[in-house]
């Protein structure tokens, strides 16, 4: 994975977080450096910041699209400008994320993009007895169909993608309701959703993977004893 981001601290955050997931990350702070790396190596996924010190990331998109047809490109931008978004997606970026984002959100987006492009049709995310079909939005526990609402499905997918990570209530709310969660007392709703989801999974005979982390939020534990 190549992280093209001029802010070193932010790049390090991303590298640290994704590194723990087992991604091999390289980063570049300039258009020039990125161009060099792109001509030398192949990347599965490219995170591209639009505002770089020596030029716009949009220009790099052209290079990426001509040389690296297989790479997934995710644009990171501080400008929540619609223009950037539209141009970026038109020029062949796969998704767009606006600063400030939660790292778990970035991870979920990367995985979603990767799923869309690389698994070719079989959009099934599996974890132990749980399997999620991201096309039909069907969740199954040990083959049994779960009656989940779209938000619950989304939440479960988010948990599984970011398993063994502490997910703050803020991150979950931002994931479920997007940028304009402003007007919602969303933490109560997060609690409700998590509660309902846990109940539905255990009713279907699944293990209770989702744990509460004191004060912070929730965590999907893959190492469950039972």
């Amino acid at each position: 994975m190549l992280i093209i981001e001029d802010n070193q601290e932010l790049a390090r955050n991303i590298r640290d977080f994704l590194g723990r997931e087992g991604y091999i990350c390289e980063s570049s702070e300039t258009v020039e450096g990125a161009t060099e790396k792109l001509t030398l190596f192949q990347y599965d996924c490219i995170l591209l910041d639009i505002g770089l010190p020596d030029g716009s990331g949009i220009g790099l998109l052209n290079l990426i699209r001509s040389e690296h047809k297989e790479s997934n490109v995710l644009i990171i931008s501080a400008k929540n400008a619609l223009d950037d978004k539209i141009i970026g997606l038109e020029k062949g970026a796969d998704d767009y994320i606006t600063k400030p984002f939660h790292l778990a959100e970035l991870h979920a987006r990367i995985r979603a993009v990767y799923r869309r492009k690389n698994l070719g049709g079989t959009n099934i995310v599996e974890f132990n007895e749980i399997s999620l079909n991201t096309d039909t939005f069907e969740a199954r526990v040990a083959g049994k169909l779960l009656d989940t609402t779209p938000k619950e499905f989304d939440l479960l997918l988010y948990f599984i993608v970011n398993k063994n990570r502490v997910l703050s209530r803020q991150a979950i709310a931002a994931h479920l309701w997007g940028d304009y969660t402003d007007n919602l007392a969303n933490f109560d709703f997060v609690y409700q959703h998590v509660k309902n989801l846990r109940r539905k999974i255990s009713n279907a005979g699944g293990l209770d993977y989702i744990g509460t982390v004191y004060g912070l939020g929730y965590k999907f534990n893959s190492h469950q004893d039972g």
């Binding site: 601290e9 991303i14 501080a78 939660h102 803020q170 402003d182 007007n183 109560d188 912070l216």
Partner: protein, 447 residues
Amino acid sequence: MKLTTKFTLWYFAIMLVVLLTGGYIVYYEIQDKISRVEVARHQRLNDLIAEQVRRGGDYSNSPTRKRATVTVIPADSVPRGGSSYYTRGIDWNPEFQVNEYRLMVTSYYQIKGQYYRITTYSFIPSFYQLLPGVVDSFKWILLMLLVLVIVSAGLIPKYILAPFKRTLKVIQSFDVKQHSAIRLPQTRTSEFLELNVFLEKMTEKAREDYQSLKEFTENASHELQTPTAIIRGKLDLLMESDIRDEQAILIAEMQNALERLSRIHSSLTLLTKLENQEYDGSSPVCISVLARGILDSFDELIEMKSLRLDAKIAEKVYVPLNPALADLLLTNLVSNAIRHNEAPAGERGWIMVNLAKEGLMISNSGREPQVPVMELFERFKKGNPGGDSIGIGLAIVRQICDLTGFTIQYQFHDGIHTLAVGFTDRVPASRLLQNLGLPLHHVKTVT
């Protein structure tokens, strides 16, 4: 009033003054001229008679003597100085048996040592008889001028004001967001030229100011979002390290504050963008479909708060609004109604959405706000100071309404909050509040 109409009216006023004075002058000139001509004629006649007297002989039947009187006078009754004078006035005309205006010229002569007074007269048209003629001719002149002025008022300004109209057209379509300077038409009229130069300068300045403001907003946005993103990332990472419970609480509190910061910032940036009118595109958007979609997306939240939703959405309501803004408007209104929904103990909260061609009304049960309701549209004003919200949602709603020309009203009455948005000028929000008033049964519902 149109410029041409104004000019025409002024022309009329000036013309009237000029014609009246002109008429007066003409009248007196004619009167004067006639008198002079007559006097000259009679003087010549008097001279002729004097000549006849000098020659001697009987001329009493001569046509020259028809209206002449020749009198021998003593030398001392000859007036000193002038040898001739004239009088005029109304007198009896025996030929026509009518009183007429008479001009009489009296001349004095010294012939062969004797003094003669010769008087001749004639009847001339009275000045009062002239007057109607003068008035009549001026009436025709006035009429002709009127017709000409009206016709030219219709035609000439079209030609003279053409460059002005073209300038106006360019200015009306001017948009501070446009990338190129405006191009105004060439003109030889110096006033219009001046105006064009001024407009070109001013619009250029407006464009530059807008650009720099936009750049500032974008830079501020960029510069603030990056550090916020860093802090958020660090906290995400910190959360996963081995921490004690007290530390977890501290991190959670930081997360909360950060969330607020980021929300305030993005909302303010959005407001600035709205103020700068960066969202254009006012092709009609079907708000009915949008409203249904948004209500669907809030379905779960509504259910979780066990609210009752009563939506009456008319089909195919189109409003001229940027789709992103329409979405923002509805989302803010609906989420506001959900968030601040509070029913009295033992009752179930409810939301009523009513979308019609004229406008949108959203009502919900709720507690009495602690500030006057219309103040809730101001930034950072909250009905409930202790709440989680940052108090900017309604400011955004109002900004969108102002931008689109919608009217908006907020009313609190008897435990019911009602927000009305009027889509057209004809039916303002205040009318909506009166006409589409709430059916009372909603208030009394008990679970």
